[in-house]
Every structure is written in structure tokens, then in C-alpha cells.
Amino acid sequence: MKMLSRRIPTLLALLLLPVLSLPAVDDPGKWRGERVGWARLKTPSKYWFRHATGDPVLMQFFRESTSLNIDPTWYAADVEKLDQLCKYPLLFSQGVHMVDSPKGRENLAEYIRRGGFLLIDSCINHGVTPDPDIFLALQEQFLQTILPGARVLPLPGNHAVYRTYFQIQGGEPPHTYFNNVYDKEWRKHGLYGVFIDSRMVGIISLSGLQCGWDRMIAPPGHDVACMRMLVNIYIYAMLQGN
């Protein structure tokens, strides 16, 4: 009997093993749609792929927390090659102001006119982006040049982008700070929408979301907060028409 009583936990574990290994009923990955790739916009800037090493972490987060069938790797889309841009419905960019060739500018404009969505997120490293206000102005100026009539407008705190998938408390994006030192000049910026008429064709972030998910120095949980914001932007872009 003693031997039997010693074996009871093992037997119970063996019996419960198949039950415990069953997938959760509401596993979002069960209902994945069409596969899509994640790409960074390749520009003449030497920083265009900065923090790309963290992108697979973001893809993994996408796959674990949503049913989006996103490829786990990251790709590059050269701004000089329109056919490369058009393979991705959303392009991530460190900043488009560095695109100086006429062909690159025309490609980017055509990509947006065909229905592509542009997500610009500044790196908070002062060596890359010394001044957030200047960065924002450069993006706006560039976009208005290539897309006459485009407007860059701040998104209010009650905008759907803050609640499309995750509920972003406070209606503002999480901010990453250079060396984790608070900076009100960065903090004052929320998200900005790029509009052509009533259609949102892109979003500009000055929150260093990529720095956050690449696990720069930041408070615990900040990486997840940045990825949640990014997921919201991505899914919001998927669901918008004109």
C-alpha cells in the first residue's frame, strides 16, 4: 500500500497530462487568416533598420496575442522599388524625410495612393533623432510634398486606435525615454494621423515604440506596452476604409 500511495501523484500526473496539454478554448491562433509579412522601409538613412533585431519579438507578440497570421520574420522594402513596397499593406519606417530621390518619393506616394499604410516611429536615441519637433515637422513637410493635400493631425485621446484591440489607458501612447530619463519634449507628443481627405493613410509616432519593444532601458512591462500600442495601430489600419 505504501508503494501504491507513493505512486498516486505520478499516476494522477499521467492521467491529467493529456487534459493539461489541450489548447485553450479561446486560443486566438486557431482562426488565423491570410498570411502577411512585416517590412521596414529601406531608405538612404543609415538607421532604417535600427532596432530590427527586436522585430521578431514583436511578430511573436502579434501571433500570441492576436489571430493575425503575420510571418515571424521581418523583411525590407526598398523605397526605390515600388513592387517591393506593394507587397506589404503596412510599412514601418524610422522616418521618411531621408528619401531624397525623385523615384523614391514617387514610389512612396504611389504606394500610399494604392492603399498602403505608413507607420513612422522615431527612435528616441538623441544621436538618431535629436529633436522630436523637428522630426515631426520634417515628416509632415515630406508627406505634404509627395502627397499634395495630405494633412498631419494629432489623434485625440478617445480615438479608436487606443481601443481597437487593447484598451490603452489614458488615451496616449507609452513613451520610451533616452536612457530612461523623462523628457517633457518627447512626452508632449501623442500619435499623429496622416490624412488624405478623410482617409487615414499613416500614423506618426514620437514615442519610440520600437525602442520599447527592443527592450531599451525602461520600466518593467514597458516593452509589452509598446507592443500593445503597435498592435492597436496595425489592427486599426487593417479595418479602415475611406
Binding site: 533598420f49 492576436t66 497570421n69 513592387d83 492603399g115
Partner: protein
């Protein structure tokens, strides 16, 4: 069943001669006994002899019980079978008024049918093991024999109507070897014989008819039973209207039917009518004029016999199309489809996502009335002309949602089912949704595994020349998406979809991914297939459509074509044109407008005339009036039709004078409809209209079921029932009992307990 009772071994020993089986079983038993005895000869501990013997005996008992179970003896009964219901002939005699009416010679149709039957009765007796007889008019009543069934002095119940088809179906339910029906082929219920023939074919029961004829002079009756026209149509488009004609003819002949509008004859035809009662539809195509009400009038026959029926269709400038979009998975195509439809204000798309995805989206709905999930009733779906199901999963649609979709399409809705994923599509195999779609799925051909799909995707994303192994630290992976595959219209297709017809070959849709299906269903129209490539010659179905009930279902086996949109110059409108045209082509015809149908066959003085009124359930009840031959207008009271959905009523009035009466109706949308018909001064039921026997109708039923019309030629094939033919063999397991299993386990458990007592465990 009577005969000998025997037994036999089953399982591995089944079919072996008893001697061999017993020898094998005995050998196995002996071997088991020896092994059991041997196993307790030497034990880990010393045991007293009685313990050793007890344990060995228990194990031997277990071994023998297992062998007995494996042998599984069965009881076998072999014997002869007495002829049952399946071997008898069922004689069904029509005793309605039309069968009893006599001609100038005093001969009734019943007497003529009986005479014909008597000629073949002897053959029937030789062919069938036995016979039974019944009589019927409105109800089937058993009779003791043929003479009793045809005896005019024996009541057959209410005889002013004939429920011929229901009586035959009742006879089929008794599973006879064959049915012989003495009748004139008249059924007064308005029922069609379709279901009767199906049931007879399914059960393999031939139906023979002894058709009674006499020389009663038949009269002619014409009636426009009802007319169908859409409530509204677009200007300068072609639409269909139809009239359902009910006519009784003494001889084969024809009658003229015309369609008039605003004093102009739009179309006409000569309907061929056969002798007897005819019910046939006359559909005709009409081109709509400029916007405004379009009055349509059907005219059947000429002179005093002429019947009139009219209705109004509204011609409109532009139609609003409400689309319900339901998405089962997150995908980018929605953004591009929405943009394509938003470019045409005719479309209003209300979108919902599968709530399980956790994404909050209810776009396009009226404030406060947004849907949060796919409705579970057809009523909620009816406000949409089209429902798009994009990348849905079978296990995420409830039974109620699937039933609602089917009922919705059957009632005139349109469903576009989009599935780019073979696995997700195959999940619908065997579901009610598959039953509605124009293609069949094959659950056995599930597509690639997730891993294979991942590799395929990466292969597509990276060109061979720039293939770079994924390294998170390596920047700049150049990619080249494999060329998008093209739609093509299948060779030999006479009808290209409007959505594709408007595009030149270079602008036909192109896709990245598509689902493979087992094939199209009979009756489905394949509108587009995949263009074969150098490496893959298959022409898989990409787009198919079929009528389902009064609506349409279509299947698009591709993604939502966003990559095609992104591959085209921004100035191209091909994608927008494709989606808009595709949805327009699937938009069901507008629901029928106001409709009137006369339910009384032969209106007569002082006899109630009943009219059925149908209108849109969205509108208040229409106003209905009747107009007497002298022009007196009387409003009629509507009563909701029991058992019908909302929007259907009946109205009744009793004519107080003979002549041409009319009934008119006007609904809340100012549509009108009307019927005109003669009222005779003498009440006549259909039975009393002297309708000639329906020879052709009965011939068709008989031939469809393997029977025949009984005439002078022999129709029954004589056969001899041999003794061997009635042999039956029945086997029944003897030890199929849970007690035996319990005893076996009990013996084994006892052995284990005893082993424990003697510390062998």
C-alpha cells in the same frame, strides 16, 4: 420465421468446421492450463500447496473465460419466411364524385376502371403473394376486397374532392410490392405529384393505373391563379414577370395569353394545353421604362372566357444595396474591399468581425442597431441584399447562424462565401453551409500543414536570387513576391459574369492564395478558374455561383484580392469595378410586389370566394376591395394567413349576382394588383367540372415509378416463388453480455487479491 435453431463459433473461428474449431479451442485451452500451472509451479516466495493450487485454478479460469469470449458462440436460426406486406399488391380505388358520374350510356369511370382491372386480376394473383384493397376520396378506408372497394353502396366518406396523391403516399407507407390505382387521375388539392414520385422511387414500389374513362362532355375552364412581378426594378433593365395559369380543357388545344402595359402589348404566347386539367407558368421578360409606376396586365383567353389580372411595378432610378460583411479572421483584404465599395454610394456595407477575435468593429450600422455578431435568424438578415462571409471557420458558426443563412438564401437573399484557405474551406465539408454553396469541399484533401504553409509563404516572399537566411541581425532582406496568379473565364462558358465581362484580359483579377475544392455541384455555374501555369496545368475553380431556393450563393476561392489592388497603378479602377459588379450580379431580384391569388376554383353565386393577398412585410396591410358586375365596390376584411410568415393574408366575399367580378388591392407603397373572373349562377366543385381523365399525367407517374397504365396488354410479369426464395438466416450472439465481462474481471481481480494476500505483489 420458422425453422431450425443451431449455433456456431464467431470471431477467428467463424466459418470453420465444428471439429477443427473445437480442436483449436481445446489446444489453446490446454496450452493455457499448462502455462498457468507452470507459472505457479515456482514462485518468488514459498507457498503452501493449497495456495498454489488456488492461484493456478484462478488463472486457469481466467484463461478459459478469455478463450470462451474469443470463441463468441452465436445462435443461428434458419427457416422459411411467410409472405409479408412487402410481397402483396395494394389496390386503391378512387371513389370520388367524378368517378361516379355517369355518361349518356349510364357508364361511370369507376365501372370502366373496374372492367380494366378485372382483365388483369388473374395475372396479378399469380404475380403477387397476396392483395389488399382500399377505397378513397378524401380519406383512405380499408376494404375487405376489390368487390367491396368498388361497391357503390358502401360509403367512401366525403366524395366532393379527390386527394389522389396523398392517398397514394399513404399506400406507399404500407410498403406493398406494388400499387394498382383505379382512378381518373384528378387530384383537386392543387398538389403536384413530385414528392409522390420521389417516395415511390426511393422505396422501389411501382404504381399501376387502371384509368377510368367515359363519354361525359367536359367543359372548359380558364383561370389566372396568380401573377408574379418584382415590387421595383431599375430603369431600362430587363426583368421577369410570370402568370400561373390553371386551365381545364375538354380536348387538347391552346389558349392565348398576353401581357399589356399602358395600352401596349409587351408580349404574348399561345399556351399548349392538353386534355384535362393543366397548371402551368408563363414567364416573360420585360424591359423597364423610365422611373415611375409600371402597370402590367395579363390577359388570358378571349371573349366571355377572358380572364384578367394586373399589378404594378415601380421603376426606380438607382438602387441601394445593403451588404452585411462578416469576417472570421484578421486579414488586410477588408480595408481594400471596404474602400472599393465606399467609392460607390449605392453600397452600404455593415461590417462585423467574429467576436472571438477580440477586435471591436461594427461599422456601417445604424446608430444603436449595430450587429455584434452574425445574426441567428433569417429575419435579421433579410434587410441585407447580400451577406459576405469572408474567411470564416465552420466551428465558429453556430447551428442557428448556419440555419439562418440557409433560410435567408432560400428566401431570396444572396451569400458570397470567400475562402482563400483550403483547410478552413474543408472544415465546411458536410455542413449545412456546404449544402447551400455551388462547390463541394473534400475533408480528406486538407491542405498543407502550418509549417509547410510557412515555408511556402517565405518562398514566395524571397526571390531565388536574393534568398537570405533569416538572421535577426542581418539587415535588408530583399524579397520578390511570386507573380500573382490570374483569373480566367473557363473555356466553353457561354455566360461570363458581368463582373468579369467588363474587364479586359489584362485587368482580370489576380490573386496570391486560393482554396482548392472537390468540384462544382450539378447546376452550379463556374464563372472563373485559375489560369494554368507552366508548372501547374490544373484549372482550379476560383468563382462559382448557383441558384439556391429563391436566392443565390456564390463561392470565391481567393483572398480578398488586396495584393491585386496594390499591384495595379493607383489610377486603375479595375478592382473597384470588379467588386461592385460582382456584388451587383449577386444581388437578388427585388422581392415580389403585391400579389393576389384566387383560392376558389369555380366561383359561384352565394358561395364564398377566397383570395390570398401577399405584400411586403415591411408595409402595413394593403387595402382590398371587390367590384361586382354592376360596379358596386365593397371593402374586404383581411385575415392573417395561419402558418405563413407575415405579409400574407386571406380575404373572402360571397357574390350575390353572376357575371364578371373583380378584386383589387393597393398597398402602402401605392402598388396595386387585381384579378377579374367570372361567377356562375350554379355552384360547381372541381369534381363536378367534368374534367377529363388525366391520362398523360398518370402515364408519367406510372412510368417514373416502374409501373404502367393498365390496358389490354399484360402488365404484370408472372413469377414463381421457390422455396429457397423465402429462406432467411438470422444470427444472434449468445454471450454478448456485460455479466460475462464482469465475471472475467472478477476472476482476475480475485487472483490479484489472493496474490497480494500471499505477498506475491
Amino acid at each position: 420465421m420458422t425453422g431450425a435453431v443451431d449455433w456456431q463459433f464467431a470471431g477467428l473461428l467463424q466459418g470453420m468446421p465444428h471439429g477443427v474449431a473445437w480442436a483449436l479451442l481445446g489446444s489453446a485451452a490446454l496450452l493455457g492450463i499448462l502455462l498457468a500451472a507452470k507459472s505457479y509451479q515456482n514462485t518468488l516466495r514459498n507457498l503452501p500447496p493449497y495456495a498454489r493450487i488456488s492461484l493456478a485454478a484462478l488463472r486457469i479460469a481466467v484463461v478459459l473465460a478469455i478463450l470462451a469470449c474469443l470463441a463468441n458462440p452465436q445462435r443461428t436460426r434458419t427457416g422459411t419466411v411467410q409472405p409479408g406486406a412487402r410481397d402483396t399488391l395494394l389496390l386503391l380505388v378512387d371513389r370520388s364524385d367524378s368517378m361516379n358520374a355517369k355518361d349518356y350510356r349510364g357508364l361511370s369511370r369507376l365501372a370502366d376502371a373496374t372492367r380494366q382491372w378485372k382483365i388483369h386480376e388473374k395475372d396479378a394473383k399469380e404475380t403477387f403473394a397476396g392483395s389488399r384493397a382500399s377505397r378513397f376520396a378524401t380519406k383512405v378506408l380499408d376494404a375487405s376486397g376489390v368487390d367491396d372497394a368498388v361497391d357503390p353502396s358502401v360509403s367512401a366518406g366525403e366524395t366532393h374532392q379527390t386527394h389522389l396523391y396523398s392517398a397514394l403516399r399513404e399506400a406507399l407507407a404500407k410498403s406493398p410490392a406494388a400499387i394498382v390505382c383505379l382512378t381518373d387521375g384528378i387530384d383537386t388539392t392543387g398538389e403536384t405529384p413530385t414528392s409522390l414520385v420521389s417516395e415511390a422511387q426511393r422505396d422501389g414500389i411501382p404504381i399501376y393505373f387502371a384509368l377510368g374513362k367515359n363519354r361525359i362532355q367536359s367543359s372548359e375552364m380558364l383561370n389566372i391563379r396568380e401573377i408574379k412581378a418584382p415590387s421595383q426594378v431599375l430603369r431600362q433593365t430587363q426583368f421577369n414577370v410570370s402568370a400561373l395559369v390553371d386551365a381545364t380543357m375538354p380536348q387538347d388545344g391552346e389558349v392565348t395569353i398576353e401581357l399589356w402595359s399602358g395600352g401596349a402589348k409587351l408580349s404574348s404566347a399561345n399556351l399548349l394545353l392538353r386534355r384535362g386539367r393543366n397548371t402551368l407558368a408563363w414567364p416573360t421578360a420585360v424591359t423597364s421604362p423610365e422611373p415611375g409606376p409600371m402597370h402590367l396586365e395579363f390577359r388570358l383567353g378571349e371573349g366571355k372566357q377572358r380572364q384578367l389580372a394586373h399589378c404594378t411595378t415601380r421603376v426606380i432610378e438607382k438602387e441601394k444595396i445593403d451588404v452585411l460583411y462578416y469576417q472570421g479572421a484578421l486579414q488586410w483584404g477588408y480595408r481594400f474591399l471596404l474602400t472599393a465599395l465606399q467609392s460607390d454610394p449605392s453600397f452600404n456595407m455593415e461590417s462585423i468581425l467574429n467576436p472571438a477575435l477580440g477586435v471591436h468593429l461594427t461599422a456601417g450600422g445604424k446608430a444603436g442597431h449595430e450587429l455584434t455578431d452574425l445574426p441567428g435568424t433569417a429575419k435579421e438578415l433579410k434587410r441585407f441584399q447580400i451577406v459576405i462571409l469572408a474567411h470564416v471557420f465552420a466551428d465558429r458558426l453556430t447551428a442557428a447562424q448556419q440555419s439562418a443563412l440557409i433560410e435567408y438564401v432560400r428566401g431570396g437573399g444572396g451569400v458570397l462565401f470567400i475562402a482563400p484557405d483550403s483547410n478552413a474551406a474543408a472544415g465546411f465539408s458536410g455542413t449545412p453551409i456546404e449544402g447551400m454553396l455551388p462547390v463541394a469541399f473534400d475533408a480528406r484533401t486538407l491542405a498543407k500543414s502550418a509549417e509547410a504553409g510557412e515555408q511556402e509563404f517565405r518562398r514566395k516572399m524571397m526571390s531565388a536570387s536574393a534568398m537570405v537566411e533569416i538572421d535577426p541581425g542581418s539587415p535588408g532582406l530583399n524579397q520578390e513576391l511570386a507573380s500573382l496568379q490570374a483569373f480566367t473565364i473557363p473555356a466553353g462558358s457561354s455566360r461570363a459574369l458581368t463582373a468579369l465581362r467588363g474587364l479586359d484580359a489584362a485587368n482580370l483579377p489576380r490573386l496570391s492564395q486560393y482554396a482548392k475544392v472537390a468540384g462544382p455541384k450539378p447546376g452550379a455555374e463556374v464563372l472563373a478558374v485559375r489560369e494554368p501555369t507552366a508548372t501547374d496545368k490544373s484549372r482550379d475553380i476560383l468563382l462559382a455561383k448557383q441558384q439556391f431556393g429563391e436566392g443565390f450563393s456564390a463561392f470565391l476561392a481567393t483572398d480578398l484580392l488586396w495584393r491585386w489592388k496594390m499591384a495595379l497603378p493607383s489610377t486603375s479602377r479595375a478592382v473597384e469595378v470588379f467588386w461592385q459588379q460582382l456584388l451587383l450580379s449577386l444581388t437578388p431580384a427585388p422581392r415580389s410586389g403585391l400579389r393576389l391569388a384566387r383560392l376558389t376554383d369555380a366561383p359561384a353565386l352565394a358561395t364564398p370566394v377566397t383570395i390570398r393577398v401577399e405584400s411586403s412585410s415591411d408595409l402595413p396591410a394593403p387595402t382590398v376591395t371587390c367590384v361586382s358586375p354592376t360596379g358596386t365596390i365593397t371593402p374586404l376584411t383581411l385575415q392573417e394567413s395561419p402558418g405563413r410568415e407575415s405579409g400574407a393574408w386571406t380575404a373572402a366575399f360571397t357574390p350575390d349576382q353572376p357575371g364578371m367580378w373583380g378584386v383589387s388591392a393597393v398597398d402602402g407603397a401605392a402598388s396595386s394588383a387585381g384579378l377579374q373572373f367570372p361567377v356562375s349562377d350554379k355552384a360547381r366543385t372541381t369534381e363536378a367540372l367534368d374534367i377529363p381523365p388525366d391520362i398523360e399525367g398518370m402515364r408519367r407517374i406510372a412510368e417514373s415509378t416502374g409501373g404502367a397504365l393498365i390496358g389490354d396488354e399484360p402488365v404484370f410479369k408472372t413469377r414463381t416463388v421457390t422455396d429457397g426464395e423465402w429462406q432467411r438466416k438470422n444470427t444472434e450472439p449468445l454471450w454478448n453480455s456485460s455479466w460475462l465481462l464482469a465475471a472475467l474481471l472478477g476472476l482476475y481481480g480475485t487472483e490479484l487479491a489472493v496474490r497480494r494476500i500471499f505477498k506475491l505483489l
